[in-house]
């Protein structure tokens, strides 16, 4: 049976838009596909395909300094995400809930790390940890990651705050009043009504903070010491010698980890979103 001709708004069934969609898809994904494909290339160089191998994965997974860097990255991301979510959510709730002196200033100031160029944040952090809060480099792991964690919190929590703030707009204040009316203290109303409402935004904010931290290069570069190399910084230093498929393999693993985390987070978020 023949399908009906495309309706006036069915742009996706006309060829120009399909072509456009294809072009966008190619533009976005060809580099990533190339990265993944060449991680299986049996050659020291990345440019010419020589045959299939998984030896670069074996090599990457046995490269101790790379693994250490990966471990550092995950640790930093986890720690800074936890703090960022708490700080960001509290800042958002404070800005939404209360009127106080300097409200506008605080709101604008909080968004500053989002707009300030990363390189400036990096230099600022370098100066900060050199002059104001010196961090002895010989401290044991993971305390020696402190400067990076602090720097990451500083630039990720505003993102959490923005996401949570947006979600707060849809909160029905009378729900909080209903909880109070039924005998809840301020804290109980916050815990039983506001937090459940914010849950999707807390998850989304956490995911954002985690990925921002995990792949940050610029700010980390300025705050990392010789013993506190993170994954992106390590990859950068490997690339400076030569771009081997080992770098591709390591990058592919990182992509897999982040995509998996995103999928898990979306799964977790979906039922709430539907209900809200």
């Amino acid at each position: 049976m023949r399908r009906a001709p495309p309706g006036p708004l069915e742009y996706l069934r006309r060829w120009p838009l399909r072509l456009w969609l294809l072009a966008v898809g190619l533009f976005l994904y060809v580099p990533l596909v190339a990265l993944v494909v060449f991680s299986f290339n049996d050659s020291k160089r990345n440019i010419i395909w020589q045959g299939f191998t998984t030896k670069w994965y074996a090599k990457a997974l046995t490269n101790e300094s790379l693994l250490a860097a990966f471990g550092n990255s995950l640790t930093i991301a986890a720690l800074s995400t936890i703090v960022s979510v708490v700080l960001g959510a509290l800042a958002a709730v404070a800005l939404w809930r209360f009127r106080f002196r300097g409200h506008t200033l605080f709101e604008g100031g909080m968004a500053l790390p989002i707009v300030v160029p990363e390189i400036c944040m990096g230099v600022a952090m370098l100066v900060f940890f050199a002059r104001i809060l010196p961090w002895p480099p010989e401290l044991p792991w993971p305390i020696n990651l402190g400067p990076i964690v602090i720097a990451h919190i500083a630039f990720t929590f505003p993102f959490v705050a923005v996401v949570v703030r947006a979600r707060l707009q849809s909160f029905d204040r009378s729900q909080e009043e209903a909880a109070r009316d039924l005998g809840a203290s301020d804290w109980a109303a916050f815990r039983d009504v506001l937090i459940p409402h914010l849950k999707p935004s807390l998850i989304a904010g956490a995911l954002l903070a985690f990925t921002l931290s995990l792949d940050d290069f610029v700010i980390t570069f300025f705050t990392a010491g010789p013993d506190t190399i993170t994954f992106p910084v390590k990859v950068y230093s490997m690339v400076r010698f030569s771009v081997t498929p080992e770098v591709n393999a390591a990058s592919t693993l990182l992509i897999v980890v982040t995509v998996a985390l995103t999928v898990i987070a979306l799964r977790f978020q979906k039922p709430q979103e539907l209900r809200a």
Binding site: A178, R180, Q272
Partner: protein
């Protein structure tokens, strides 16, 4: 003893008085309505009873206790919110049991009370549902059950029926009233819908711009309004301006431009020569076809009074009754309502038909302001 007393309570938002020096008391077991147009301060007054707003001046007592400084969670009242404010992440049973849980009531006892409440609002078997699986009417029942579960001394209802569709709203009026009988708790309801207030309340307080303008039973509000505002706000009315001509202990004459001299069978107790208003309800006007004969004579009025001629301008047939807009010879439009008692009554009159309008001496309410 009154369960609620409000003494000289005002609430200012900046320089604006949302509630302006209101004094009233509500008796135990009453179904009390706070009635007024939007912005009249009725919701603010309710929120002060619930504890969400603090009076700027004056005193509120509930169950004999001064409520100054007492937080909403410590008051012996519970509220049904306009938006229902049912917690979307909790099941129906958890919603209803929430207040009991906060009171530290054990799981088994709580389950009993929740089931009792579900039965009370006829939601048996829906305890495990989530609010988004319920209709608007069912969500409202959950809000009701949740507020009643703690057995408050007073239930506050903020525009409880405004979010329902017309048919359901009418059914819920009876249900709310019978529910109140069943639980025997004092209900205080805020509404802008006069039908709702008249249908359910035992007494109504009419508010206008923050002030309490009249506090009376529904029938007194309708039949004996104390001001043009109340007469106009409750039901529909024909308002005619006049001047007091004679004022005796058991009769008075008010001369009007549109209705001629109007005779009433009671004293007005006003200044002769002063301006007055006559509020004449549409259903209290009798309409007769105007033929060649003399005007109809009302037996309780002097000859030729309380009757005017007019012409039907427009007819709205509403099924149970018909509403007529009659243009008087003076140009004033009067509204007349006739019940359709038989299945042919609506055919008695046609548009453009000349008619006589007449009313009894006791029909108009005479208002000074």
């Amino acid at each position: 003893m009154s369960i609620i007393t409000v003494e000289g309570v005002s609430k200012y938002f900046g320089p604006v008085a949302a509630v302006d020096d209101v004094t009233l008391s509500i008796e135990e077991g009453e179904f009390f309505a706070l009635l007024g147009p939007s912005g009249s301060g009725k919701t603010t007054l309710l929120r002060m009873l619930a504890g969400f707003e603090t009076p700027s001046t004056g005193r509120i007592t509930i169950d004999g206790t001064d409520m100054a400084g007492i937080a909403p969670n410590r008051r012996p009242v519970n509220t049904v919110f306009q938006s229902y404010a049912v917690f979307p992440h909790m099941s129906v049973a958890d919603n209803i049991g929430y207040g009991l849980k906060l009171d530290g009531i054990g799981r088994a006892e709580r389950a009993n009370r929740v089931n009792e409440m579900l039965a009370l609002v006829q939601l048996q078997g829906l305890g495990e549902r989530k609010p988004d699986q319920l209709s608007g009417g069912q969500r409202q029942r959950v809000a009701l059950a949740r507020a009643l579960a703690k057995r408050p001394r007073v239930l506050l209802l903020d525009e409880p029926l405004s979010a329902l569709d017309a048919k359901l709203r009418e059914a819920m009026r009876f249900e709310l009233a019978s529910l109140q009988h069943q639980v025997g708790i004092t209900f205080v309801m805020v509404t802008h819908d006069q039908d709702e207030a008249l249908a359910m309340a035992t007494r109504c307080a009419v508010m206008d711009r923050g002030r309490l303008v009249q506090l009376a039973t529904p029938s007194d509000l309708y039949e004996f309004p104390n001001s043009r505002f109340v007469a106009d706000f409750i039901g529909s009315v024909n308002m005619v301006e006049g001047v007091l001509k004679t004022d005796k202990p058991d009769e008075a004459l008010i001369s009007t431009q549109h209705l001629g001299d109007v005779y009433v069978d009671h004293a007005v107790l006003g200044n002769v020569g002063g301006t007055l208003w006559l509020a004449l309800r549409p259903e209290k006007i009798e309409m007769r076809p105007k033929g060649d004969g003399p005007p109809p004579q009302m037996e309780d009025a002097p000859a030729g009074l309380n009757t005017v001629a007019g012409r039907i301008d427009h007819i709205a047939y509403l099924g149970s009754e018909s509403v007529f807009e009659v243009e008087l010879e003076s140009g004033l439009k009067m509204r007349v309502i006739r019940p359709n008692l038989t299945r042919w009554d609506q055919e008695d009159f046609a548009e453009e038909q000349p008619v006589w309008l007449s009313w009894h001496a006791c029909a108009p309410a005479v208002l000074a302001g």
